[in-house]
Amino acid sequence: MNNLKVEAYFCRAAYLEKRRCVHGPPIPHDEHAYSLALKIQKIEANGINFKVLVDMTNNGIKPVQVGVNGKLKDGNPEIWVLGLEQQDENGEWESVDAVCPEHPAFDWITLKPGEQLTSWALAVDFPKPNQRFGMCTRKASHLGGEIRASVRYYVDACDIEDPFSNPEPYVATSEPAALPVPTSKTE
């Protein structure tokens, strides 16, 4: 191993302080006020996998936060974590995305009512069922049929920092969309 990758980040104290979680009274769960709509915009074949582009729109009346993990190569934010699912033979939705959310979002974007962002994730054609990576397992093998997208969203910095503390987490889910039939396996 000779190929070292270095990532470095410099953050000013004032900015860190502004984003720090300050615990206050619990925010009542309100899916009308805090609402995020997901829509699959496009699905593109990427070899045997599929790139799924998703639009997210705050269709509530309060700001919401979406976890991010930097930018994708096309400049769109990488959502932490944009889930992709397909149904198994029993109708259960199983994850087919490739990111294991083993930590909370370290960064986020606030979407005010009416604001939208676009991101994408890769639906992976796992060669066999129960593929393990990190601390995650993907029960599904091979892609087919329809895909839907889902994402956890948040109401404040504390909700993000300690996502397990919220007894009623907010999750947005798209309508399913059909995978295109690949024209080439060598793309």
Partner: protein
């Protein structure tokens, strides 16, 4: 606190082809000198849209030819930061990009591509309370 219970290893990052991680971009932007580029670095990418607090932090990425465990690079970075008055962060870690279970040690896991990712994260602070985080990554392709 979630920071204390979360296993913050990055589980998997698909579509990372070994060894090219960041493409061939290179850019020059005015940045804090605490973002240190080691000798012989390539594919240098600078931006002000980091993984963490994206609109408030400066980000630097590059690759370097350095044998695992990257002692030469680590020494260069640490020496330069100490020279600038930074001290290694000893308190509770601030959640940042790639923060793992422990600061200052190499951690590793098998990623979704079947290769193994080795990561070491260090955090530093200056007297003003600013933070700088370094994440060093090696990919062992197809062990």
């Amino acid at each position: 606190m979630i920071r204390n219970r979360v296993l913050a290893t990055f589980g998997a990052i698909l579509s990372i082809a070994c060894p090219g991680f960041y493409g061939q971009q290179s850019s020059q932007t005015e940045q804090p000198e605490s973002l240190v580029v080691v000798s012989g670095a390539s594919d240098i990418v600078r931006s002000q849209t980091g993984l963490w607090n994206s609109d408030g932090c400066d980000e630097l990425k590059y690759t370097a030819s350095s044998p695992f465990p990257g002692n030469s690079a680590l020494l260069t970075i640490a020496s330069e930061l100490r020279r600038q008055g930074w001290t290694e962060f000893r308190g509770e870690s601030v959640p940042g990009p790639g923060i793992a279970n422990k600061l200052g040690v190499w951690e590793h896991w098998k990623n979704v591509t079947g290769s193994r990712t080795y990561q070491r994260t260090g955090q530093w602070q200056n007297p003003a309370g600013d933070h700088v985080t370094y994440r060093l990554v090696f990919l062992a392709c197809y062990e």
